[in-house]
C-alpha cells in the first residue's frame, strides 16, 4: 500500500518531467518553425525560459517548500506537516500537500510590514535582488540535447553563451547585493549583522568557487556549458569503453570521476554561496535571525522561494558540470541511434530531459539531507574553512590536475587520480576513527586484564565517534 503510493508518486514526478520536457521540445519546435518562417531564429529560447524556468524550476521549488519539511520529518522520525486539507476531505489526507496552497495564501495575505525608519526603496528592492540572480543562473544550464525538430535545431537551454561558466560566476556574485541591501535597509542591528555575515561569507567563497571549476575548464578546454562543444555534453565521451552488440558501455568522462576534489570544493563553496545549512549563520534562527528579519508576508516569501530556487538551480548546475548533464552514463549512442528515436526526436529529448531532472532531484535530495545532518558552522569556522582549507586544496587540485592533463590529454590519468581520491575517501569512511579504535582496544584490554564482567556504562558513550565535531 505504502510502497505503491511511493512508486505512484515517483512515477507521477518522472512522468511529469517526461511530459514537460516533451512538451518543451514540441513547443520549441513549433515556435522555432514559426519564427524561422518569419525570419527570426532562436525563438525557442523564449519557450525554454517559459517551460524550463517558470514551470519546472518554479514548480520544483514550490514543491520543495513542502518536501523539505516532509523529508526532514522522515529523517527525524516525525510525521511532518499533514493537517492542512481541502474542505470535505478527512484530516491528514493527501499527506499534507495542501500545505503548499495554504502557505501561499498565508504569504500573500499577510501584511507586508516595513519598519518605520527603513529605507523604502532599498527595503523593497532587497527581496527582488535576492530572488532574480538565482533564477537567472539557470539560463545557461542545458536540460536536454540539441535536437532537430520540424527541421530546425532546438536547444534545451534558455541561452547558449560562449562564456557560460563565467556567466554563472558573474550572476552568482550578484546575489550578495540582495542580502546585504536587505540587511542594511531594514534598519535593524540583527538584520545588518546578518547582511554583513552573508556578504563576507559569499565574497570569501567566491574564490574557492571559481578555483574549483578551473580543473574542469582546463580538462575540457572550454567555459561553455551547453551545446555540442559545451562542457555538459562533452562529458558524454568515454574514457574507457566497449561495445556489447550495438550497446555501448564504458566509463564516461563525468566531472565527478575526473575531478572529485573539484566537485567537493565546488559543492561546499556553492553551499556557502547559497547560505544553506550548514553555512546558514547569516540567517541563524537561534542567534540573529538574519538579513530578512524585518520582512514579512510575500517579501519574506521571496527570500524563502529564492532559497529553494537556489537549491534546484544548484542541483542543475552541478549536474551539468559534474554529472554529465542530461546524458546517461552509458548507452547514449545506442539510444540515439535507435530508429524510433530518430523518427521521434521529441521522445529522445523527453527521455534525456527526464534523466537530467532525475539527476537534479538526486542532488536536491543530497542538499536537503546535508542540511538535516550537519549542524551549523560557527562563523569563524566558515571563514577558516573557506580560506585555509578550500582555497589551498583548490590550488593543489588545480596544479595536480593541470599536470596530469598536460601529461595525458585523454584525461585517463586524471580519472585514475580521481579514483584514487575517491578511494581514499571511501577507505576513510569505512574505517572507524582512531579514537574509536583506541577505545575499543582499551575496553578489550580492560575487560581481559581485570576480568570485570560489565564495563562501565559510559564506555559506550565515550566510544561514540566524535559526532559533535
Amino acid at each position: 500500500m505504502r510502497l505503491g503510493v511511493v512508486f505512484v508518486s515517483l512515477g507521477l514526478i518522472f512522468g511529469g518531467f517526461f511530459a514537460l520536457m516533451g512538451g518543451a521540445y514540441a513547443l520549441g519546435g513549433v515556435v522555432e518553425d514559426f519564427g524561422r518562417t518569419h525570419g527570426v531564429s532562436g525563438l525557442a529560447s523564449l519557450t525554454n525560459i517559459l517551460i524550463l524556468m517558470l514551470m519546472i524550476v518554479m514548480v520544483f521549488a514550490t514543491l520543495l517548500t513542502l518536501a523539505e519539511r516532509k523529508w526532514s520529518a522522515f529523517m527525524q522520525d516525525r510525521v511532518g506537516p499533514n493537517r492542512a486539507r481541502f474542505p470535505g476531505l478527512p484530516n491528514a489526507s493527501l499527506a499534507g500537500i495542501p500545505h503548499i496552497v495554504t502557505d501561499v495564501f498565508k504569504m500573500l495575505t499577510k501584511e507586508a510590514f516595513r519598519p518605520k525608519n527603513a529605507s523604502k526603496v532599498l527595503f523593497a528592492l532587497g527581496p527582488m535582488l535576492a530572488f532574480a540572480p538565482v533564477f537567472a543562473l539557470f539560463a545557461v544550464v542545458p536540460a536536454g540535447p540539441t535536437l532537430k525538430i520540424f527541421d530546425h535545431p532546438v536547444m534545451m537551454v534558455s541561452t547558449n553563451l560562449d562564456f557560460g561558466l563565467l556567466y554563472l560566476f558573474a550572476i552568482a556574485s550578484l546575489a550578495v547585493y540582495g542580502t546585504s541591501l536587505a540587511g542594511w535597509a531594514s534598519n535593524n542591528k540583527f538584520a545588518l549583522l546578518g547582511g554583513v555575515r552573508a556578504s563576507s561569507q559569499m565574497i570569501s567563497y567566491e574564490v574557492a568557487l571559481g578555483l574549483s571549476l578551473v580543473g574542469m575548464m582546463i580538462a575540457f578546454s572550454t567555459v561553455k556549458l551547453a551545446g555540442p562543444d559545451g562542457m555538459s555534453e562533452m562529458q558524454m565521451q568515454y574514457l574507457w569503453s566497449t561495445r556489447v552488440g550495438s550497446f555501448d558501455l564504458g566509463l564516461p568522462a563525468w566531472g565527478i570521476f575526473i575531478q572529485p576534489l573539484g566537485f567537493l570544493l565546488f559543492f561546499a563553496a556553492a553551499f556557502a554561496e547559497t547560505k544553506r545549512a550548514p553555512f546558514d549563520s547569516p540567517e541563524g534562527e537561534s542567534e540573529i535571525v538574519g538579513y530578512f528579519l524585518e520582512y514579512s508576508g510575500m517579501q519574506f516569501g521571496m527570500f524563502m522561494i529564492a532559497e529553494f530556487v537556489e537549491v534546484v538551480v544548484l542541483g542543475g548546475v552541478i549536474v551539468a558540470i559534474f554529472f554529465g548533464g542530461w546524458s546517461l552514463p552509458f548507452g547514449n549512442e545506442w539510444l540515439m541511434n535507435l530508429a524510433v528515436m530518430k523518427q521521434y526526436p521529441i521522445l529522445l529529448g523527453a527521455i534525456y530531459g527526464t534523466v537530467f531532472w532525475g539527476k537534479t532531484l538526486l542532488l536536491v535530495y543530497l542538499q536537503m539531507v546535508i542540511r538535516w545532518t550537519m549542524p551549523r558552522f560557527r562563523y569563524d569556522q566558515i571563514q577558516k574553512l573557506g580560506w585555509q582549507i578550500l582555497l589551498p586544496v583548490g590550488l593543489a587540485n588545480l596544479f595536480v590536475s593541470g599536470a596530469l592533463i598536460l601529461w595525458d590529454p585523454s584525461l585517463r590519468a586524471l580519472a585514475l587520480f580521481g579514483f584514487f581520491v575517491i578511494g581514499v575517501f571511501a577507505f576513510l569512511t569505512l574505517t572507524p576513527p582512531k579514537q574509536v579504535r583506541q577505545e575499543q582496544e582499551a575496553a578489550d584490554d580492560h575487560h581481559g586484564g581485570h576480568g570485570h564482567a560489565a564495563p562501565a556504562p559510559h564506555d559506550d558513550h565515550a566510544a561514540l565517534p566524535a559526532s559533535t565535531h
Binding site: 529523517m75 510525521v79 491528514a92 543530497l366 569512511t429 566524535a466
Partner: protein
C-alpha cells in the same frame, strides 16, 4: 577503586586530537548522510504503526509521532485530568460548599457560592443536608492542575480522575466550568455520609435508644452502608 579510576567521566574530558576522518569532514558527513537517509527511506517506505504506546511500535518505520486528536496516549494511573464534581446516588453533587478547595487553590480558580436547604423545603435532601453549592465554578484556564483541591476536599466531592484533559474551546468563557459541566461520572458514597446516619437534621424519635443501639454492634442502619473500601474508577471515554 583505582582500577576504576579511568571510568571517571571527568578524566575523559581531555581534548582528543581530531582524526583525519573528522578533520576532512567528508567521511563523517557521508556517515551522517547514510544515517539520515536510512531513517528517511525506512519512514518513506514503512507504514507508521499507530500504536499509542510508542515504544511498542512495530514495522519498518521509526516514526514516534502520535497523531493527537485521532490517536491518544493512555494516561497513567493517577493522572490528574479534568476536574469532576462527584455525584451522590441521587445525582446531586456531593459537595457541601465548604470552600476548602477554593481556599487551598493556589491559582484561585475556584468560585463557590453556598446555599442552604431550608428545613421545610420540598427536597428530600433538605431534611438532612443543610449546605450545598448554589454555584461551583472552576476556571480551567487558571487551573494549574496541582490537585490540591482533591486533597483538600473533606467529602470526596471533587476528583481529577476523568483521564482526560481540558478540551479546547473557541472562547475563554468555554473554559469556565459550572456545575452542569463538572458533575459527571459514577456516583460515590461513603459510610460516613450523613444520610446513612439519620433521616433529617431533627433529632430521631428515640434519641436514647438510637444512640445506644449505635454504640452496640452496628444496628440496622449500619447494614445499609456501602462497603468501607470503595474504589470507583472513572470510565475512560
Amino acid at each position: 577503586m583505582s582500577s576504576h579510576s579511568h571510568h571517571d567521566p571527568l578524566e575523559k574530558r581531555e581534548l582528543v586530537e581530531a582524526d583525519i576522518r573528522e578533520r576532512t569532514y567528508v567521511p563523517e558527513i557521508l556517515k551522517g548522510i547514510a544515517l539520515t537517509t536510512k531513517h528517511f527511506l525506512r519512514n518513506l517506505f514503512g507504514e507508521r504503526d499507530p500504536n499509542p504506546d510508542v515504544v511498542d511500535r512495530k514495522g519498518l518505520a521509526t516514526i514516534t509521532t502520535v497523531n493527537y486528536p485521532e490517536e491518544k496516549v493512555d494516561y497513567p494511573p493517577g493522572y490528574r485530568g479534568l476536574h469532576r464534581l462527584v455525584p451522590r446516588e441521587d445525582g446531586k453533587p456531593r459537595c457541601v460548599a465548604c470552600y476548602m478547595c477554593a481556599t487551598i487553590c493556589p491559582a484561585q480558580c475556584i468560585y463557590i457560592e453556598a446555599g442552604e436547604y431550608g428545613g421545610d423545603d420540598e427536597h428530600a435532601e433538605s431534611r438532612v443536608i443543610e449546605k450545598y453549592p448554589k454555584q461551583f465554578v472552576i476556571d480551567e484556564l487558571r487551573c494549574i492542575v496541582c490537585g490540591l483541591c482533591v486533597d483538600a476536599c473533606p467529602k470526596d466531592a471533587i476528583r481529577m480522575d476523568t483521564y482526560t484533559h481540558v478540551p479546547s474551546e473557541y472562547n475563554r468563557q468555554g473554559f469556565v466550568y459550572d456545575i452542569p459541566k463538572l458533575l459527571k461520572g459514577p456516583a460515590v458514597s461513603h459510610p460516613s455520609d450523613p444520610w446513612y446516619k439519620r433521616g433529617s437534621s431533627a433529632p430521631p424519635d428515640h434519641v436514647h435508644k438510637e444512640a445506644h443501639t449505635r454504640i452496640t454492634a452496628g444496628g440496622a442502619a449500619l447494614a445499609k452502608r456501602p462497603p468501607l473500601v470503595e474504589v470507583v474508577k472513572f470510565a475512560k471515554p
